[in-house]
């Protein structure tokens, strides 16, 4: 009997191991996040590192965010128009593009783009610093790596990504506007009026809240994986890959939770 259960037990163990490992990793990331928050308000503050992080996370992400948003907004307009035709509801294109971009696609796509561009770069940079003993050098120079590297980047992500989401929302809506007015025959003035009339403050606020949370997650996970990377080039590669995958999944999970909390009722 016991021998008969052995394969089932082995299969369950094989299934359980990665689940337990993932939960343990999530726990370590949570502790790392709490430690980062604990350092944010305590000096010393590294203004130059923060300014550099603002530039890297915010300003230099604008092109990728803008291009992603404009193409998504345009495609969304085409899809809604084509789908709406099936039940004579083509006129709702401005409203659906606006709510779709602001509530969901804007924050999620910007979050994922930040995970691809910023999380990967942070993880690779810090992992390389670890491999080349630069993190040890920081410690010997009486500088806490978490304060010097993690705090400025996480703070920049928390503050910049909501702005990027706001800009992405506007560019996405403009993408829909350009397609709707240029290709689908919508009147420009009424398109803008419908968009503005339909959107509510809560939609915009929810978008910015999501942006702040996604920015925090994306930068924190990049730092976490960088600081905990393995040795050599393989370690740096593994840290980068793991950081992007984890940040993307956590952003999508956080999006579901935030949507449930903000709009569930």
């Amino acid at each position: 009997m016991a021998q008969g259960l052995a394969p089932i037990s082995a299969a369950l163990a094989a299934l359980g191991r990665p689940v337990l490992a993932s939960l343990a990793a999530l726990g370590r990331m949570t502790i790392y996040g709490a430690q980062t928050l604990g350092h944010i308000l305590r000096p010393p503050f590294y203004a130059r590192e923060f300014a550099s992080a603002l530039l890297n996370v915010g300003w230099l992400s604008l092109p990728v965010v803008g291009l992603t948003a404009i193409f998504t907004g345009g495609a969304l307009a085409l899809q809604i128009y084509a789908g709406g035709q099936r039940f004579s509801a083509e006129a709702v294109v401005p409203q659906i593009v606006a709510i779709g971009m602001v509530r969901e696609l804007g924050p999620v796509l910007v979050g994922l783009m930040i995970a691809a561009r910023v999380t990967s770069s942070i993880a690779a940079e810090i992992a390389t610093m670890k491999v080349t003993e630069q993190l040890d050098a920081l410690v010997t120079l009486s500088t806490n790596p978490m304060k010097y590297l993690t705090v400025p980047r996480v703070l920049a992500g928390f503050l910049c990504v909501p702005l990027l989401v706001g800009i992405g929302d506007i560019i996405g809506i403009m993408g829909g506007f350009l397609v709707a007015t240029g290709q689908l025959g919508f009147n420009p003035a009424s398109y803008i009026k419908n968009t503005v009339d339909f959107l509510q403050t809560a939609d915009v606020v929810s978008s910015l809240i999501k942006g702040a949370v996604f920015g925090f997650i994306a930068t924190l996970i990049g730092c976490y994986y960088g600081m905990n990377s393995g040795r050599g080039a393989q370690g740096v590669g593994g840290a980068t890959k793991g950081a992007v995958a984890s940040a993307s999944i956590l952003i999508l999970a956080a999006n579901f939770i935030l949507t449930s909390v903000l709009f569930g009722s």
Partner: protein, 248 residues
């Protein structure tokens, strides 16, 4: 004085340090030799608290280093890392003056830059190097910048981790001579880990050989050649036959 008593450190199944006892007297230059993977870097990092020993005591001037106030403790040290460990995103002078621009030793930027340029001159680099970034420097120049950074705040104790690894013999000689000069000039306590015997002879007052996780032999550098320890003799003469297994 730095004292290590019965220091143990294990990584997974691998016991790297198995009871290291070592004393480094104030103002002397100790060189720790030993084969690759024998735990020399772990020993050095244990003193700095970058690695926590599993067992044993490390003290600095009689005080347990684990109980020392961290910032004040680290302010007494300078360190030259094996690969230089220069910060890629900072200019050369900012690397050298890193400690002088932050924390308790912080001073105005112009003053920090002046000191950095003076230290760069001390290690034989022109002031024009100051505004380059580390990636623009050769390996030898990076080592010199690392050395300038290690001495920038004029520490009491300086650690050198494989200072000549990856350098040609001439540049190795230059770095060895610089280290010796600077240590004597500053009256600093120095600890160097290396397996380069020319470094040992150029830098050391005392030598300790780490093998099998313990100090196999220790004594003044002048006594090294006459010592009868077979491990030491095999190592310093680079012989493949002897008690040290060549395949690990």
């Amino acid at each position: 004085m730095i004292t290590l008593s019965g220091v143990h450190k294990t990584f997974g199944p691998n016991a790297v340090l198995r009871g290291v006892d070592l004393t480094i007297a104030r103002g002397t230059s100790m060189v720790v030799i030993g084969g690759s993977g024998t735990g020399k870097s772990v020993l050095l990092k244990s003193i700095l608290g970058l690695v926590s020993p599993d067992k044993g005591l490390i003290s600095l001037d009689g005080q347990d280093v684990r109980k020392a106030e961290r910032e004040a403790f680290l302010a007494r040290f300078g360190m030259l890392f094996q690969g230089g460990a220069l910060f890629d995103s900072l200019k050369v002078w900012e690397n050298v003056a890193f400690r002088l621009m932050r924390g308790p030793l912080a001073r105005p930027k112009d003053q920090a830059r002046e000191i950095a340029i003076e230290k760069l001159r001390r290690v034989g680099l022109k002031p024009s190097v100051a505004d380059l970034v580390p990636a623009e420097l050769s390996g030898g120049m990076q080592k010199r910048v690392g050395l300038a950074r290690a001495i920038a705040a004029e520490p009491e104790i300086i650690f050198f981790d494989e200072p000549t690894t990856g350098l040609d013999p001439i540049m190795s000689g230059v770095i060895n001579a610089l280290i010796r000069e600077i240590v004597v000039e500053m009256g600093a306590t120095a600890m160097t880990i290396t397996h380069d015997m020319s470094s040992v002879r150029a830098i050391a007052d005392n030598v300790a050989m780490l093998h099998g996780g313990v100090i196999q032999w220790t004594g003044p550098v002048a006594d090294m050649d006459a010592a009868t320890d077979p491990y030491l003799q095999q190592f310093i003469h680079g012989r493949s036959d002897g008690p040290i297994e060549s395949v690990r």
